[in-house]
Amino acid sequence: MEKPSSPPAMADIFRFLAQSMRYPTAEWLNDHFWSVLLSFLDELQWHEEREALIGAKAGAADFLEDVQVEYTRLFINAIPHVAAAPYASVHSRGDGTLYGAIAEQTKKFYREKGFALVKENDLPDHIVYELEFSGLLAKDDPEGQKIFLTTLFTPWFEIFRGRVLEEAHHPYYKVVVNLIDFFTREEL
């Protein structure tokens, strides 16, 4: 088994964060992913969060289904409502709908940096896209990444994160949004 050695690159970290916000399937939410996630928490000394995750997994009859149900409830269609739609425009500079002004601005920013979505009809402001994009800028355009994060990402992510922390029943997404916060917040 190939083992990690040097510190992880920012680009990879963002790809990892993006991955962790995709719909959970057995394909990727597997033991390898899990061990990387726990290593992160270990080295960050987030012991409580680590224990919470281990406990949730150990106590689950079907851990994957628990996370899928939680993802659906938080981010797709849920009771009491779509608690935390993972789109910038639902939270920021709009009236709570998809594809608001910030989504268009985000798409424009991608273009200005020389990128476009593979699925060009997708909503550009989904959290997975925004994290992947941050990762793409991390290596060659850290200044661009910083502008992206401060002007287009953080303002809505803070609200979104608050919603997740308030609404989540399962520790997984609480941990993930805190990890994203840790790697995107300016002052850290």
Partner: protein, 743 residues
């Protein structure tokens, strides 16, 4: 979370050595981005006009264009080429964008891993969803028979699936709300009288007088229909509005008949009797086309002005005034057939009376009268019809409702579900309909659904009924797909006669994993073993084949800006063989009154008031509840209460109240009181389509009161089996105290 290690430190020192694999190996190989050299603004910031939209915020289907900027729909407008709605669309039409981008819309197939009514949803793949739907429907079919699958469809996209279940699977248990809780009575009553379903085919634009029984245009908005109505008024038509409430139409009327609810048939009989007695009917038309005039004359002879005045609680001279006005302007009179007519359970007789009144005024095929437009017929391509006998047809088994609209009366299906008799119904497909808010008595609907082996729903929004689904599938909305082919003529028959054909075409691509009804149904059909019966491979192919029959194609329509226009035909004139059955032997043989007859409805008990409901201009019943713009235009549905009664009850404008009905059912949410002299003392009114209890609707949930929740007393129209929904009586509840309504 406290910060124990800083980001900088982590990035310098972390090794993730404990992980079983390097970080880069656990992430997806590809991102969702491609390198794309930056193109300066201008090439993508411009807004394009996309043609071919057909609105579905209501069933009127106005033709649209979309303003699309960089793949995003930013505005909807009427298609300037349209000879129907023209450049105009209504508030709901405009707000279609908010439906398109509503974050609460269904996005992916969902599986309920909780229980029906208290769902716990999980996103699943289409493959899994379709396999489960196919296998479980097949299991029901094999265990109990095809008839044990019930279907509740609604809207253009449900027609193809409905045909599959009726024609291929072979169940009769299909019930459309648009028939059984809405217009089916109207269609059947006109069919039984003139042999044609009337639609809303009155030539109001060219009428000299218009009679509306309960229609409230202005609050009820369908663009070209309202244009015709307003054109008629502008041209000087006299307007008579029969309504217990001072509606938007009543406000424009020459005569407002503030009728007691449930008594309209008595009113119409008295008008007709007066016309006959005073020789003010169209003798020539009656002689040429009407059957059974003498029996009819004799049968309505009891309906004097005084008789009706007592029943309807309106002055006799006002009924006379209406009759005189209609006679003076005949035959150029629009007796509007109505649309939502399922009111009291005596409705077939009322609507038949409207048809008979139209006939004795000679108001058929003439300017301003009942005139069917001559549009193009485009035949829908659908599933082949199999051989299925009538032995499991609940309506035939019960030997009831001989004038039922197509399908099976909802009540018969629901009763069979609950009782298991004459056979159990164990599979349920709900496609675009929300029976929780369309079918009275929600407790019975819940009981029917809970006993099913399998329930699947297909919808665009998480409506109340979707909480009872085992599998919930997302469809694209009308702005994202090909669909229905709208045909018609110019809206004003005084203008050059033209016909149009406008297939619905997508203005933007469907987002998420939404799939259209043809694709979904075909996939389920394959899994149920009916692959050989599939008539078309895709919705696009279906529309293209249908268009080919009139020498058109999608490609051609795109060139023609979404609407094909051709010369039309003069719609006026009466077929020589038109027969109007003023007296119907067929009705008599089946045990129903052969001439229009007034059947009294139950009176409100002491302390209660009759609850009537209607439309709001910014909503299409419950379908637009979650639309942010529309919600903001009218967030709740105030309950109209007579000012004198409100004074006696100590209520004032804006007071928050709930409602409780005579069966003890209390509204789950509250609304505000509208104090007005514009409603009878024995009646309260509210707009329908509020107060959803599905918390997935972040805007519409618990906003206003759901009148349907309070409609627990069922009246069944005997001829048609349709529901009457205005026989429920309510009190108001303020600060937890139940208040009698001292009518």
């Amino acid at each position: 979370m406290s910060v124990k290690v800083t980001r900088r430190k982590f990035l310098q020192t972390a090794s993730l050595a404990a992980a079983s694999i390097p970080l880069a190996k656990v992430v997806a190989a590809e991102t969702g981005f491609v390198k794309n050299p930056f193109t300066p603004p201008g090439s993508f910031t411009g807004t394009q006009t996309v043609t071919g939209g057909v609105c579905e915020m209501c069933f009127w289907r106005c033709q649209l264009v979309g303003k699309v900027r960089d793949k995003k729909l930013v505005k909807l407008e009427g298609n300037p080429k349209s000879i129907d709605n023209g450049k105009s669309i209504c508030a709901r039409g405009n707000a279609g964008i908010k439906l398109l981008y509503d974050p609460d819309r269904l996005k992916f197939p969902l599986k309920n891993v909780g229980e029906r009514g208290k769902p716990v949803w999980k996103q699943i793949s289409w493959e899994e969803a379709l396999d489960e739907c196919g296998a479980r429907l097949k299991a029901v079919q094999e265990k109990y028979g095809s008839h044990d699958i019930a279907m509740f469809p609604h809207g253009a996209s449900a027609k193809y699936p409905m045909d599959f279940f009726e024609k291929v699977v072979g169940t009769h248990n299909v019930s459309e709300a648009s028939f059984f809780q809405c217009r089916g009575i109207r269609d059947s009553a006109y069919m039984a009288t003139f042999s044609v379903p009337p639609d809303e085919s009155v030539d109001m634009a060219n009428a000299r007088a218009i009679l509306l029984i309960g229609c409230h245009f202005g609050e009820n908005v369908h663009v070209s229909h309202v244009k015709a109505y307003l054109k008629g008024l502008e041209n000087g038509a006299k307007l008579v509005v029969v309504d217990p409430r001072y509606s938007a139409s009543a406000a424009k009327s020459h005569i407002w008949v503030q009728i007691k609810p449930g008594t309209d048939t008595a009113f119409l009989l008295a008008v007709m009797n007066y016309l006959v007695e005073k020789d003010k009917y169209d003798k020539q038309f009656v002689a040429a086309h009407c059957v059974g005039f003498s029996q009819f004359k004799h049968g309505i002879s009891h309906a004097s002005l005084d008789w009706a005045a007592r029943i309807c609680d309106v002055p006799a001279r006002q009924i006379q005034e209406v009759a005189e006005l209609l006679a003076a302007n005949a035959p150029n009179v629009s007796i509007h057939p109505g649309r939502h007519v399922s009111w009291y359970g005596n409705d077939f007789q009322r609507v038949r009376a409207q048809a008979c009144l139209t006939a004795i005024l000679g108001a058929i095929g003439v300017k301003g009268g009942f005139v069917k437009p001559k549009g193009v017929k485009v035949k829908a391509i659908s599933w082949p019809k199999g051989e299925h006998g009538g032995e499991h047809n609940l309506r035939l088994l019960a030997d009831l409702h001989h004038y039922s609209p197509p399908g099976t009366p909802t009540e018969l299906i629901r009763d069979a579900c609950i009782s298991g008799k004459p056979y159990p119904i164990k599979g349920c497909v709900i496609w675009g309909q929300n029976p929780m808010q369309t079918i009275p008595n929600q407790q019975k609907t819940v009981a029917a659904l809970k006993q099913m082996d399998f329930v699947m729903c297909v919808d665009i929004m998480p409506t109340d009924i979707t909480m009872y689904a085992d599998i919930l599938l997302p469809e694209p909305c009308y702005l994202e797909k090909y669909d229905f082919i709208k045909t018609g003529t110019q809206w004003n028959f005084a203008d050059k006669h033209q016909q149009y054909i406008a297939p619905r075409m997508p203005l933007v691509d469907a987002m998420f994993e939404r799939r259209d009804g043809v694709w979904i149904m075909n996939e389920i059909a394959k899994r149920m073993g009916y692959e050989d019966k599939i008539p078309v491979a895709s919705l696009e192919e279906k529309i293209n084949k249908e268009l080919a029959a009139v020498n058109l194609s999608i490609e051609q329509l795109k060139k023609e800006e979404g609407i094909h226009i051709q010369d039309g035909k003069d719609p006026y004139g009466v077929a020589e063989d038109l027969e109007v059955l003023l007296y119907s032997e067929d009705l008599e043989e089946n045990g129903y009154p052969p001439i229009p007859t007034y059947i009294p409805v139950e009176e409100a008990p002491q302390g209660y008031s009759r609850l009537v409901y209607g439309r709001a201009p910014v909503h299409t019943f419950n379908r637009s509840q979650n639309n942010v713009w529309l919600h903001q235009a009218m967030p709740v549905n105030p309950v109209w209460l007579n000012d004198e009664i409100a004074g006696k009850m100590g209520l004032k404008e804006g007071d928050e109240v709930g409602l409780v009905n005579s069966d003890g059912i209390t509204s789950s949410s509250r609304t505000v009181v509208k104090v007005t002299p514009g409603i009878r003392k024995d009646t309260v009114y509210m707009a329908h389509g509020y107060g959803s209890r599905n918390p997935l609707l972040t805007v519409g949930a618990n906003a206003g009161v759901d009148d349907q929740e309070l409609i627990t007393r069922l009246a069944i129209d005997p001829e048609t089996g349709c529901n009457g929904m205005r026989n429920n009586f309510v009190k108001l509840v303020k600060d937890g105290k139940v208040l009698d309504i001292p009518a």
